[in-house]
Amino acid sequence: MPYELRDIRKSFGDLQVFAGFSLDFPPGKVTAVLGPSGCGKTTLLNILAGLIAPDAGELRGLGDARFSYVFQEPRLVPTLSALENVELVLRASFGTGERKERALRLLAAVGLAEARELRPRQLSGGMRQRVSLARAFAYPADILLLDEPFQSVDLRTRIGLMDSFLDLQAADPRTVVFVTHEVREALYLGDIVVVLSDKPARVLDRKELLLPRERRSYGSADLSDVEAALYRLILG
């Protein structure tokens, strides 16, 4: 059963962010939500995660769902090592042995086995975000929310991070909602790409991407038509 938002309304004072907004998120798929800055993408994630209550509307299938989050910034505890940071979110769900094994496996999957004992300040920005990715996949969540997590790093690091994400997703598929304002990122990671309008946000377009990922690399011409259409839609 897909997770669904139905006829969601949400305002902050006079600012209407959603006025009858509906969208569904197919299980095990990456839904990339594209939209201009400030259109309500983060509010959408916060409503999904239950951090913000909508003024009206229905959230279907989300009642008992567990969420993990990859934030714009890594949000790691500075006094804990990479391994301890991943283990921290597993403490309530797993015993010591299983927790450590799971955390080590995920850190190894993002290429940080050697750096597991380092503190966040000893890691580069890209490495910190890898720890954040490992933490999100280690946590036993039904839905994974990604809030523009690849923005603060250079292009090469960004592609490396996105490849790490795709490897983790292939090994353990989650229902992913990924918000971004970068068309290329949405095309690289998304199984479905949704384009939102400016406030109050509504769905301008929803595309299912069937092209295999190996043909979606940066610089590939295979998606140029879709990319151009998305830019036209975003820029009006």
């Binding site: 995660a49 969420f67 804990l80 921290l88 403490r91 309530a92």
Partner: protein, 260 residues
């Protein structure tokens, strides 16, 4: 002595040597002043004070007074840390609580120590007066530091903790304690120094049977100025010793506790 831009002493003149020179200068000024005044009742020489202290310190009267003052200091420190810590925590979490408590804290901060001691003399038995006064004086210091610590907790980490459904004890150990630790250390240091000063002042006025302050006041009445200095020296040493113990603990025990 030249100083670098960062304010650190230039290499070649160690700070310990500078401190020793400063102490020596202080002793010399004291010695010359005592000679100039030529009156042991007004200002005894450092040597005379040292001799009096050497005679006084091994006596049962002194040791029992020292023990009682030490216990009063520790009790007032413990109470002010526990009470101030709890109230500071509440203030950090609730701006409404902070606003409600602000007038009381302002009154406490602005009230002269002696006024507190005099009122406490009316309200409490003599042994409790110094403790009450010290707790009241240290309380606002602890509240302010702990409140600042709670407000220093990264809201992004708290949101992460909420989303990943971290248990309360894990939030406390991994997020709150490391953020609070430096502020708790500052609060402890401030409260400890303040407690000793107020405790001795309270003892001088309330005259409990066993106390450094009582010994100090009795020596004053007997015009034994060298003994007043010796009791004072004991107070200074007590404060310095607890300060040193505190610093040792701080170095040994990294305050940012780890969950591993």
């Amino acid at each position: 002595m030249r100083k670098s831009e960062s304010g650190k002493s230039s290499p070649g003149f160690p700070p310990a040597a500078a401190a020793s020179l400063g102490a020596l200068a202080l002793l010399l000024i004291w010695e010359f002043s005592a000679r100039a005044l030529a009156s042991e009742i007004v200002l005894p020489s450092p040597l005379r004070v040292a001799r009096t202290a050497a005679e006084l310190f091994p006596t049962a009267r002194f040791l029992s007074a020292l023990q009682a003052t030490f216990l009063r200091g520790m009790a007032s420190f413990g109470i002010s840390m526990a009470g101030g810590g709890a109230v500071g925590l509440a203030c950090g979490l609730s701006p409404v609580f902070t606003a409600a408590l602000a007038p009381a804290l302002t009154v406490i901060r602005a009230t002269p120590v002696l006024a507190v001691i005099l009122l406490a003399l009316i309200w409490f038995p003599d042994w409790a007066v110094p403790v009450f006064a010290a707790v009241l004086m240290a309380f606002p210091v602890v509240v302010a530091d702990v409140r600042q610590g709670v407000r220093a907790v990264d809201p992004g980490l708290l949101e992460m903790a909420r989303l990943f459904r971290l248990r309360k004890r894990d939030r406390l150990r991994s997020i709150y304690v490391p953020a609070l630790a430096p502020h708790l250390a500052a609060a402890s240091h401030g409260a400890l120094g303040l407690c000793w000063k107020v405790i001795v002042a309270g003892e001088v006025l309330s005259q409990p049977a066993r106390a450094l302050g009582t010994g100090m006041n009795r020596a004053r009445i007997d015009l034994e100025t060298a003994e007043v200095f010796a009791w004072t020296l004991a107070g200074i040493l007590l404060c310095a010793a607890t300060d040193a113990a505190f610093n040792l603990f701080k170095k040994k025990e990294p305050l940012a506790l780890r969950t591993a």
